[in-house]
């Protein structure tokens, strides 16, 4: 019988399907009488306003129907586009009173984030709401299916509506002003948000609250990053600290670059020979074997693959254009100690750089490092000569 629902031009077909589903659920759970009535009404439903004919005895529906409704609504939730016409559509009132209590219990549960589709709770004032809505609805689509209250609903798409006392919302378009007060009317909201008790529930304040929470979350993260910020509370002090820290870091970069410019020319960067002899053999055997373990690392940005290609090329090719940098330092090291295994080479190189950097960061575990490089080396499928130029352009100097 569900199939004979005509689709109105002005009504979203999905809305009708939803109601159909709902009524199906209802049928399964409730007594026959009301179900039949509900269904009949739907069947004869050319205009949506025919829902007005639904008997008010839906109001006394069982609580179980409510719960079943929770399931029903799952597919509904995704139908964001279908809601616009639905502004005045009400769900069956059967969940009214019992649900009201249930919803009242849920009032105090708070979460202020969005898009939670709870089972909707109907208000005890369903009838009153219906009455008011029926009278004041702008759409004339008021049904006895109380979806929520729509006071002064205009069908404009306000994102959120928050009722102080209601904690469950339904997807619906339009802004529901808080006319139904104490009990828990259905909140017809476009986005499911839960407001805490006693908090403002209009869309602006809700969005503001979300935004404030995001900002505070980021400020907390920054507080962890910037040393010495634990005692500072307040946005202004934090911002000052952050600014000072960024400036000091930039100054340090400048200073260290000057020092490096002074220090570096003393080093011998003739890596090519070193690279060819050592890395070719060693890397091709040891490193590659060690690296085949690896799962692809999550850092698969192109630069990684390019660096892998470069490393690969450096291993096999005579032109070690890319890896001068790595090999320079390694050469220094190998001047003292003959290179035994490629793994050792990589490790010592990394260690010399990173032991100063991090005392015991897990990131600098040898295993981790090996794995990291291994993951890259596992992309050996890349041809050796690919992408050296890309790498160069990435860090082109001025």
């Amino acid at each position: 019988m569900a199939q004979c629902i005509p689709t109105r031009a002005s009504t979203n077909p999905s809305v009708l399907e939803r109601q159909r589903v709902r009524l199906n659920w209802q049928q399964q759970q409730s007594t026959d009488n009301t179900d039949c009535i509900g269904y009949n009404n739907i069947e004869s439903f050319a205009p949506l306003s025919s829902f007005d004919q639904l008997p008010k005895n839906f109001v006394d529906g069982e609580r179980s129907r409510n719960e079943s409704f929770g399931h029903v609504h799952d597919p509904i939730e995704s139908l964001g586009d279908g809601w616009p016409d639905f502004s005045m559509v009400n769900y069956p009132n059967f969940c009214a009173i019992n649900v009201g209590e249930k919803a009242n219990d849920k009032e105090n549960s708070d979460s202020s984030k969005k898009r939670k589709f709870g089972n909707f709770s109907n208000s005890q004032q369903v009838d009153a709401n219906n009455a008011t809505e029926n009278s004041g609805s702008s759409k004339g689509m008021k049904e006895d299916y109380v979806l929520g209250e729509r006071k002064g609903a205009t069908g404009n798409q306000k994102p959120q509506n928050k009722k102080e006392t209601s904690t469950e919302t339904l997807k619906e378009n339009g802004k529901a002003s808080r006319s139904s007060t104490t009990t828990t009317p259905l909140k017809t909201d476009y986005i499911h948000v839960r407001a805490r008790r006693g908090q403002a529930t209009d869309s602006h304040s809700l969005a503001e609250r979300v935004r404030r929470e995001r900002i505070s979350e980021r400020m907390r993260y920054l507080q962890d990053l910037v040393p010495g910020c634990n005692k500072i509370t307040g946005k202004a002090g934090m911002l000052d600290e952050i600014i000072n820290y960024v400036q000091s870091l930039q100054r340090q970069v400048e200073f260290l670059s000057m020092k490096l410019a002074a220090v570096n020319p003393r080093l011998d960067f003739t890596v090519d020979s070193f690279f060819n002899e050592e890395m070719n053999i060693a890397c091709n055997t040891g490193l590659i074997q060690g690296m085949n373990i690896l799962l692809p690392h999550d850092q698969l940005d192109p630069s990684y693959i390019q660096s892998n290609a470069l490393l690969h090329q450096a291993q096999v090719g005579p032109s070690s254009s890319g890896l001068d940098m790595a090999m320079s330092t390694t050469q220094q090291m190998t001047l003292q100690c003959p290179m035994s295994a490629p793994m050792q080479l990589v490790n010592t190189f990394m260690d010399s750089c990173y032991n100063n950097v991090h005392g015991s960061s897990s990131l600098w575990d040898q295993v981790r490092l090996n794995n990291t490089f291994g993951a890259h080396f596992s992309f050996q499928s890349l041809q050796g000569n690919c992408l050296p130029n890309n790498l160069k352009t990435e860090t082109r100097e001025i």
Partner: protein, 145 residues
Amino acid sequence: MTATGSPGNPNPNLSKPMLVHHFLRALARVNRAAPKQSHARRSRRIRCAAYASMAAAAGPGRRWSRVLLRRLRSSPSSHRRRISVRVARPPRIATASSRVETLRRLVPGGRSLGYCSLLEETADYVRWLDAQVQLMQSLVDFFSS
């Protein structure tokens, strides 16, 4: 550096090997041409190389890295001082908006960001800056020992 990323971070872990890779490569390139150049020019090149390697290692997922790379590549010949450190003296009464403005100036690409995104970019930028400074410090220590 903690392994946890900032909220919404595309890359929760700093890839320091990449940083080392890029920076050392760039250093080597600078030093190949080094002897002929003045110390000042070399140091500027190294500073640009530091920022470039930082941006390259951070990847294109961040606005600051994209802006930095674009800046560095766009006019290699002109001696851009855009990256130079200017100690922004905060006004005597540093209002919140002026602080935010200062932060916008400090973080690359921060001019067109909203406040929330600006904080996120700042966090990421600080992480990478920290890593870069540590790398350079360790290099200096290594080379001077």
